[in-house]
């Protein structure tokens, strides 16, 4: 180790103390949320606030999980997010392959057009998109959520995947081509299998974005049977007194899968986040 990084023990201790305090502050809201999910309504805003619920109750969870519609909302979210993610990653990777491996008239223009999607915030388009969804009879349908989620994620996914595909040695493809493999075979049998990390990154990003999406779902979904989790959770805060225990029990159930996915795949997460931004 170089002289620079042989830190004195005191400095290392101080660093860890600072980081631990910081992490504790970051985590407090989560801890308090979980704690509140085990409180009955009488105690959610008690003074002084309780960090350890006393008496603790699992009623909120029982109520959330046994309400039939919550299972339906969960299912809607799973269906919408997985379908949108699979379609988006497939279509984006095909597009990225074309941009990375072929020279054709209009390539620069089309690629710039796709990048435009990164610059224009989704909320700006919500009014014309609503009218379009209405004309296409996609209001109040999960399909209406799925196709618009796919469209919204194409830019980022194409951009991330194109960069990765371009870094795969072209010689591999040339060899396959000599053996008579057509473009689809090369894409499907060679490029995709070699791109697992990039595909994992885009899959996670797209899944999380669609799992959490709120504004578009709020706009086109009125039918209670078609609600996704963010809509359902937001509706738990009633007109008068919010049932905070219920809100947070539902939140914990909704957030848990995301946190799990994040913890398992966080390696790819970091790669995907930083490769676009800082490499260069």
């Amino acid at each position: 180790m170089s002289t620079l990084h042989r830190t004195r023990p005191m400095a290392a201790v101080l660093r860890h103390v600072l980081l631990t305090v910081g992490a504790a502050i970051m985590l407090t809201p989560f801890v308090y949320m979980v704690s509140t999910s085990f409180k009955s309504q009488a105690y959610v805003l008690a003074i002084p606030p309780q960090f350890v619920p006393d008496p603790a109750t699992v009623d909120n969870y029982v109520q959330v999980l046994t309400t039939q519609s919550f299972a339906a909302y969960f299912r809607n979210s799973v269906v919408v997010s997985t379908t949108a993610t699979v379609i988006s990653v497939l279509l984006s990777s095909m597009m990225a392959y074309a941009f990375a491996r072929f020279r054709f008239p209009g390539r620069e223009v089309l690629f710039r057009l796709v990048l435009l999607g990164l610059m224009v915030p989704a909320m700006m388009l919500i009014i014309p998109q609503f009218i379009l969804a209405k004309q296409l009879a996609l209001i109040d349908s999960l399909q209406g959520l799925i196709v618009f989620y796919v469209a919204a994620s194409i830019s980022l996914n194409t951009f991330l995947l194109r960069g990765f595909f371009a870094s795969i040695p072209a010689e591999l493809e040339d060899a396959m081509q000599v053996d008579g493999a057509n473009a689809w075979t090369r894409y499907w049998r060679l490029v995709l299998p070699l791109s697992t990390p990039a595909l994992a990154t885009t899959t996670i990003f797209t899944f999380l974005a669609t799992w959490d999406e709120f504004a578009w779902a709020l706009t086109i979904i009125n039918d209670p049977g078609k609600r996704t989790l963010p809509l359902a959770i937001q509706l738990f805060q009633g007109q008068n007194a919010t049932q905070w225990g219920l809100v947070f029990a539902a939140s914990v159930v909704a957030v848990l899968p995301v946190i799990l996915v994040f913890l398992i795949f966080q390696r790819y997460f970091v790669q995907g986040l930083t490769s676009g931004a800082v490499k260069g």
């Binding site: 985590l27 805003l45 606030p49 095909m94 796709v114 473009a183 931004a277």
Partner: protein, 318 residues
């Protein structure tokens, strides 16, 4: 929608120069790439590009939602209406306030944590994950969570009043303009720190060790090393984070909608909540579109200006 989608936009525009291409017979070149492009392109053009143009067109109309009613072309009337609309200006001011108050802490604290985390240690991945956790958590969930924390009898009042004795602990945070905006900013900072930390962490790992060691040899102290070695080296990343956070600041929507709903009396309305209300509550689609177009222009100009700075900054270092 896709919150962090912008995360790579800046680099994207810079690397349009296209990658290596496989040489292949002319015949195949004509159709194959278009077949690969077609499905994504059709969706993208139909559901993103077309609405973009449509938003602009709609902003020039007195748009009628009801079937059968005719929308009338009114030119720039919606725009002059916005210019004379105090709520529009308040929304712009609130969006600007949110940006001004939430962006600097995300940069400073994010960078600070990244620097503390830079040294490799077994605990590093754990801290990294902990600080990043709010980033991956749903906006709806954390907005409600912060609404609860900032409630009259909530944790924030208890900690600030009873524990720290800052004020009397009976602040009604969400029921007046500035305190509500501060609460919304607090959420923005808490949720965003992990993201900027991660970008900075990657950038810091690219700082040449030899430079740092040379600075140590020259007797530079910690602050001097930071200013002379670290800061210039991470300048592109810094600029990138600034651009993204500023754009993100103008996109604040869900947290405002769920924490205050723009209330009381429109005091905490930001541009996007105002646009949304004009369109989907008042059914004034033309005016809502005009606000959306204005906001797009603001965001574009801001990011162009910053990208210009970013570019010249990057070249200086080489």
């Amino acid at each position: 929608m896709l919150d962090r989608t912008q995360s790579v936009a800046v680099r994207a525009t810079e690397s349009v120069s296209v990658a290596r291409t496989v040489r292949r017979p002319r015949r195949a070149i004509h159709v194959t790439p278009y077949l690969f492009l077609a499905p994504a392109l059709v969706l993208f053009c139909g559901l993103i590009v077309y609405p973009m143009m449509r938003a602009f067109q709609m902003s020039l109309y007195d748009w009628k939602v009801l079937a059968g009613a005719t929308s009338t072309f009114i030119g720039l009337d919606n725009y002059s209406r916005a210019m004379a609309d105090p709520t529009f200006w308040r929304g712009l001011a609130n969006s600007g306030f949110y940006m001004a108050l939430s962006v600097p802490p995300q940069i400073v604290i994010g960078l600070l944590i990244a620097m503390l985390l830079k040294a490799k240690s077994p605990a590093q991945p754990v801290y990294r994950v902990l600080f990043y956790l709010p980033v991956v958590t749903s906006w709806v969930v954390v907005s409600l969570l912060f609404k609860y924390l900032f409630a009259d009898n909530g944790l924030i009042n208890y900690v600030s009043g009873d524990l720290l004795h800052l004020g009397d602990g009976s602040t009604s945070w969400l029921s007046s303009r500035w305190t509500a905006l501060i609460a919304i900013c607090a959420l923005g900072v808490w949720k965003g720190i992990g993201w900027s930390m991660m970008i900075f962490l990657a950038a810091l790992q690219g700082v040449p060790k030899s430079l740092e060691e040379a600075a140590v040899m020259d007797g530079a102290n910690r602050w001097q090393r930071f200013r002379v070695v670290t800061l210039p080296a991470i300048r592109p990343a810094l600029a990138f984070v600034v651009v993204m956070l500023v754009i993100g600041g103008f996109n604040v929507f869900t947290s405002v909608l769920l924490m205050t709903a723009g209330g009381p009396g429109g005091q905490t309305e930001v541009l996007l909540t105002y646009m949304y209300r004009q369109a989907f509550t008042n059914l004034d689609f033309g005016y809502g579109s005009a606000i959306a177009v204005l906001l797009t222009v603001v965001v574009f100009v801001l990011s162009l200006v910053q990208m210009r700075l970013f570019k010249s900054g990057g070249e200086d270092e080489r």
